[in-house]
């Protein structure tokens, strides 16, 4: 039971890739499954680049300076008009991003540069782009939300560049360690404030544990909510990772803006997690715990299920999930091997399009298909309108990954607006009939073809192509 090559090519691009551009279906239709596999084994994934896209510590040094200057300005304003100006909270790392008109807003500037480097950069090049799709998947699995404050906002892109991308085709264990030690995640889930109750820094119990990160590591990042852990395990893991923090502007623990292990805040002594005892050897205690979590059978099932749900269907067949989990376990979490198992199954190539492209995937496909290169602020406006602001989900569980979550009449209304806008930028240059054939290939239904050829204007025809079921589904 195999599909015609043309259908496989279209499926490779829509289900596993970033969407077709003119010519891309033809480019891979000799051997579509081979082309997809080659992108996995060849680890095809570009690195976003740009002058603003610096490493985390550099960005944080800039942020510290920005916040200091902003505080100084507010203090001056407060001194000038103390009666009318309400007291401003001290500028804190996690405080408001409210912009002072006289100050360049570093976090927003960097954030938009990161957006630009992806939407007008990394998504444009790959023929299929499964690596980029996986980077989006993992960034959502290990979600941070820029709404948390300027610290996360300035770092969200760097987090994805430094902790996610290098490990997309690597080992889950390495990605997990990179994520949980990244300043963006430590800020987002408050671990830099967490202090061991028996540690020196606790001030005899005045400061203490914050379980936020430890809980989400187990519930969301590794074992899954049904992964068999208890509150006792949450408390243990949170003790284990006390002292995992970010060096401040003063540089007391190392170079400002880098990850640091603060022994003074670390809970002393061994801890038991999921029945295993971890001796206190400093930062190594947490690393060992994360390594074991990465290889736990529940983690294998959780990751297998999420990947299958993302690419295949909201309720993926259990034998598919089981075979992905088996590969994961056998290879000790080699993600490339798991992807290869996934794309090697016949289920993955079912001609029925059951998933709906998320707004992020949809916009990427629109931009690839049309070749339009909007400004990053316009890209963000479109994503916000469609309900998926980049790197800003409402919680650490990320954006939903099911059809129900995106199938709403409001969502469709904004898709119609966005698709029309893009279509209205490109009429004239493209023949809509050829455009539809080039971007949808064998997926293009006779009904859609007919509606396109009967459209009144080219812009309307391109809009219909963008809004056809076969473009919105994958």
């Amino acid at each position: 039971m195999t599909n015609p090559a043309g259908l496989d090519a279209a499926l490779a691009l829509s289900r596993f890739g970033l969407g077709a551009r003119e010519g891309s279906i033809a480019l891979i239709s000799q051997n579509p499954r081979g082309a997809l596999k080659d992108e996995v084994t060849g680890r095809v994934l570009l690195t976003p680049v740009g002058p603003e896209l610096r490493q985390t510590s550099d960005l944080l040094v800039e942020l510290f300076a920005f916040l200091k200057e902003r505080k100084a300005q507010r203090d001056r304003q407060a001194a000038v008009a103390p009666a009318t100006s309400p007291a401003q909270p001290p500028a804190m790392l996690l405080g408001s991003t409210q912009q002072n008109p006289s100050l360049p807003n570093s976090p927003q500037r960097v954030f938009l540069a990161e957006v630009d480097a992806r939407f007008n950069g990394t998504i444009r090049e790959p023929v299929i782009g499964i690596g980029e799709r996986l980077a989006m998947f993992w960034a959502n699995h290990f979600a941070v939300a820029v709404g948390k404050g300027p610290g996360v906002r300035i770092l969200a892109g760097a987090f994805e560049r430094e902790a996610i991308r290098p490990h997309v085709f690597g080992r889950f264990e390495d990605m997990l360690l990179a994520v949980e030690t990244h300043p963006a995640m430590l800020f987002f889930l408050d671990n830099q404030q967490s202090v061991g109750p028996e540690s020196k820094a606790s001030g005899h119990g005045k400061r203490g544990l914050n379980e936020n990160l430890a809980r989400e590591i187990m519930e969301l990042h590794t074992l899954g909510v049904d992964g068999g852990y208890t509150q006792r395990d949450v408390t243990s893991l949170s003790r284990i990772i006390t002292g995992w923090t970010v060096v401040g502007a003063e540089g007391r623990l190392g170079a400002p803006g880098t990850f640091a292990f603060n022994r003074a805040a670390h809970e002393p002594g061994p801890q038991t997690l999921l029945g295993i005892s971890y001796p206190d050897d400093g930062v190594g205690q947490g690393r060992a715990a994360l390594r074991d979590l990465a290889h736990h059978p529940a983690t294998a099932r959780h990751i297998a299920f999420k990947l299958a749900r993302h690419f295949i269907s909201d309720a993926p067949p259990s034998d598919l999930v089981a075979s992905l989990a088996t590969t994961y376990t056998k290879t000790r979490g080699d993600l490339s091997a798991v992807y290869q198992t996934l794309i090697g199954t016949e289920t993955a190539w079912s001609p029925t399009l059951v998933k709906i492209r998320s707004p992020l995937e949809y916009l990427v496909a629109l931009l690839r298909g049309s070749g339009e290169r909007p400004k990053p602020s316009a890209i963000m406006a479109a994503l916000n309108a469609m309900g998926q602001p980049l790197w800003n989900p409402s919680g650490p569980n990320g954006f939903a990954d099911t059809v129900d979550a995106w199938a709403s009449s409001e969502g469709l209304a904004t898709r119609i607006d966005v698709a029309s806008l893009v279509a209205n930028q490109t009429p004239g240059r493209t023949d809509p009939r050829r455009f539809a054939t080039e971007t949808l290939g064998s997926l293009l239904s006779p009904d859609t073809q007919d509606a396109i050829s009967r459209a009144e204007t080219k812009a309307q025809a391109v809009s219909i192509a963008f809004l056809s079921p076969e473009f919105q589904r994958r």
Partner: protein, 407 residues
């Protein structure tokens, strides 16, 4: 002046539009014919205007029988407006009728481009590119016409507005795209979303996707998705208010001493397969009010102005099964402005008897639209017939510029 470049939200959404909105500094036309400082406006009517409803040949004995329930009449509650012994005007166009009788408006009937198939896009490509066949989409004839015209003195850099060409709308129509720089302008409320799109999607989803069909139906029912011809004041290029806004804005820019001399607009929605009379009435009202807006806003420049409204092809001579008409061939084009030799319907009328119809179904085309446009280009703008036949409308040498269109 209250001009803004497009709506901030819409324009902001796609920075790519910026390329269309670059200010340019085109020279004004030095010696247009008659020593005048002319204005030339092209309105593209996308979707194929039914010339037989817009300018019904009520005096043709076959008209009534072909059109049956959608035939216009000279009596009844909505009598057509008489133009001459053969032709009348849709009752929705009182301004055009007034201009016609003041010798400032004319109609060319039974006309067509060089295109003889029935695809909207291909037909629009031919109409706007000026090439005899589809597929030439790099530049439009109006833009190439600009490049061939004699140049006058430069408008100084930094002027608030500039002479040259103006593209009105969220995107520049193909007819005015090309090497000559073009100024873009769109009313702040202009939305590119088109009210007919949801209806077309509804038809598509009904056949292909129950989930999307349900969502779209819900969206329309709850007003989240604006759909249909009844959408109030959508302000788009397929809406009468939107058309008038576009015309008003364009005219105000063109009325300025250093404003653009040439403009292109595109109005959508003319594909009247069903319930034609009501839909056309609405659209023709928008077009008619646009002519009036140009007349009002251009002030003294009106006397040196020609506006032409053209469409990609006409519609079937016979009514179809849904009170509308399908894609056809010959149609009508409008000319309005103080420089038009008005008060005439120019037609080598082919007749509407079965044997006179093209393929037994369409109004035949006896006048080449390119000859009409070339006539305006020569007598209003001082264009060169040789360049018009070679660069502006390649391969149109046989269609000689029509004389007698300009006063």
């Amino acid at each position: 002046m209250t001009y803004r470049l497009a709506s901030p939200s819409r324009r902001g959404l796609l920075g790519g539009a910026g390329a269309l909105f670059a200010w340019n500094f085109m020279p004004r036309f030095a010696h247009a014919a008659g020593g005048r400082d002319p204005r030339f406006v092209v309105i593209i009517l996308r979707g194929a205007l039914d010339g037989l409803t817009a300018v019904p040949p009520i005096g043709d004995p076959s008209y009534r029988e072909l059109r049956q329930s959608i035939a216009l009449t000279m009596d009844g509650p909505h009598p057509a407006l008489k133009l001459d012994g053969l032709f009348a005007l849709d009752p929705s166009m009182p301004n055009f009728a007034r201009l016609y009788h003041a010798n400032q408006a004319a109609v060319v009937h039974a006309c067509a481009t060089a295109y003889r198939d029935r695809s909207h896009f291909d037909g629009q490509d031919v109409l706007e590119s000026g090439y005899p066949v589809p597929g030439h989409v790099e530049s439009g004839w109006l833009n190439r016409l600009l490049l061939t015209l004699p140049k006058g003195e430069k408008v100084p850099t930094g002027a608030a507005t500039s002479s040259g060409a103006l593209a009105v709308g969220a995107n520049a129509p193909l007819v005015i795209r090309g090497k000559a720089a073009v100024l873009g302008w769109a009313p702040a409320t202009l939305k590119p979303a088109d009210g007919e799109l949801p209806q077309r999607l509804l038809d598509l989803y009904a056949h292909t996707d129950p989930l999307f069909s349900r969502l779209l139906t819900e969206g329309i029912a709850t007003g989240k998705i604006a759909s249909g011809m009844d959408v109030k004041a959508r302000g788009g290029p397929g809406d009468p208010n939107g058309m008038e806004q576009m015309a008003t804005g364009a005219a105000r820019l063109m009325a300025q001493p250093d404003g653009p001399r040439i403009a292109a607009l595109a109005f959508d929605g003319w594909d009247t397969h069903a319930q034609e009379l009501g839909r056309l009435s609405r659209l023709l009202t928008g077009l008619d009010n646009s002519f009036a807006a140009f007349e009002r806003e251009l002030g003294p420049a009106w006397k040196d102005t020609v506006i032409i409204a053209v469409t990609e092809f006409g519609r079937t001579a016979r009514i179809n099964g849904t009170q509308g008409t399908d894609h056809g061939t010959g149609t009508a084009m409008f000319l309005a402005g103080g420089a038009v030799r008005g008060g005439q319907v120019i037609a080598d009328w082919p007749g509407l008897k079965q044997a006179q119809l093209r393929d037994g179904r369409d109004l035949a085309a006896t006048t080449d639209m390119r000859a009409v446009i070339k006539g305006v280009a020569v007598d209003l703008l001082g264009g060169s017939p040789a360049l018009l036949g070679r660069d502006v409308f390649p391969g149109s040498e046989a269609a000689a510029p029509m004389k007698g269109l300009i006063v």
